[in-house]
């Protein structure tokens, strides 16, 4: 039971984007199109799994005083791996994600999970936690990207779905569009959670 709940909590109850509101910079910047969102989600999930696993494995040998330094070194190593592998084998995706792949290193989700979970739990639970958080992040990013891509470009996965007469709303692909979409979705989800809580009482 607890293993499944560690996996699932990242997707809904502790969704990094909508519930914890962490790592919003790439969420705002890369939710302009669905392929970007999924690519970024996969890269972040890879880094999360790698760093959570290693940090959990070495947690007993990490002195508390310098744990952040060690976590960052481990995270940076995995980010560089993701960057190099993506550059070599997925050059087109690497190009469109641009600076945001190296910037995963400062993503609060990754350090947050290392600090809050991996350094206190075993390897398997940490990996499950990372997978759940990664899926939650990817799902949130993709959900925002779907709305922004439809309204901002009039397309879905690059295919026009709203017809020729539709005038794309440029605002939606700019930063304000990201904030508006995110804010409304966050508010909507909070409303659903609040109602659920009320119903339980």
């Amino acid at each position: 039971m607890s293993a499944t709940s560690e996996l699932i909590k990242g997707i809904w109850k502790e969704n990094p984007v909508f519930r914890l509101a962490l790592g919003l910079c790439p969420v705002l910047a890369l939710s302009t199109s669905i392929p970007n969102a999924i690519g970024m989600g996969i890269a972040l999930t890879f880094v999360l799994i790698g760093s959570n696993a290693i940090i959990s494995a070495i947690r007993k040998g990490v002195p508390g005083k310098i744990r952040i330094c060690i976590f960052i070194v481990v995270i940076a190593a995995f980010v560089t791996i993701a960057d190099m592998v993506m550059h070599a084998y997925q050059p087109a995706l690497h190009k469109s994600l641009g600076i945001f792949v190296p910037l995963i290193v400062v993503n609060c989700i990754v350090l947050g999970r290392a600090e809050a979970f991996a350094q206190k739990n075993g390897i398997w639970l940490s990996i499950l936690d990372a997978i759940g958080m990664g899926i939650g992040f990817t799902a949130a990013l993709t959900a925002i990207a779907i709305i922004r891509e439809i309204l901002g470009f009039g397309t879905l996965m690059g295919f026009p779905i709203l017809g020729q007469s539709f005038e794309p709303v440029i605002l939606m692909i700019l930063a304000p569009g990201a904030f508006i979409t995110m804010g409304l979705m966050l508010g909507g989800l909070n409303m659903i959670v609040a109602r659920q809580k009320k119903a339980q009482k």
Binding site: A29, I66, I70, V73, I81, M84, F159, P160
Partner: protein, 194 residues
């Protein structure tokens, strides 16, 4: 004191292992990345001078600040059809690289933006391919225009700039114009010498 040494040693171990692993991976991926970049450039040269797509490109002036390629329509390098050069310009949020092809009358035969990290949705439209089309609309409009005279519409020229990304459009256009002038001087000087 002892404690500090111990902390340092542990951090050192983690750093050495990380760096070692990355060095190994870098040795594996960097040739692939370099090869990809070389192929991308080669492909770009063929695209910007379609007349030489089955021909030969000869690098000239590789040690100067404007190396360029002579484009020949045949593999033996007899029939010169144009020149190819790379431009680098500071855009709105990145340094953009463009490969430019011109014919012997200094008309543009094609351009290809090979690197940019401009504002998503605005400056990135410089490489956008509209649905149902095969080439980027912004870059297509440079074709068969005189390379030394091109300007964006806001500067009184006929290159239609990208909505909301005038700086991006202007950087590409101005870099092509200025480098073409430079290249023309070089080529003329070279012809006089020979």
């Amino acid at each position: 004191m002892n404690n500090i040494v111990q902390l340092g040693v542990r951090l050192l171990i983690v750093c050495v292992l990380s760096a070692g692993g990355l060095a190994l991976l870098n040795a594996k991926t960097s040739p692939i990345i370099a090869e990809y970049k070389r192929m991308e450039q080669e492909q770009a040269r063929k695209e910007v001078v379609p007349a030489a797509s089955a021909g030969l490109f000869v690098l000239r002036d590789s040690s100067t600040d404007l190396p360029y390629y002579e484009a020949y329509s045949d593999p033996e390098g007899i029939q010169l059809v144009g020149y190819v050069f790379n431009t680098v310009g500071k855009g709105y949020s990145s340094t953009m690289e463009t490969v430019v092809g011109v014919d012997l009358q200094w008309k543009i035969t094609g351009i290809k933006v090979t690197f940019q990290q401009e504002t998503p949705g605005l400056g990135t439209k410089s490489t956008e391919i509209r649905y149902g089309e095969t080439d980027p609309w912004f870059q297509r409009q440079f074709k068969s225009k005189p390379a030394e005279l091109i300007k964006v519409d806001k500067d009184g020229g006929e290159i239609q700039s990208i909505t909301g990304a005038t700086i991006t459009s202007r950087t590409i256009t101005d870099a092509i114009r200025n480098n073409t002038k430079l290249l023309k001087e070089k080529v003329t000087a070279r012809e006089k010498r020979s």
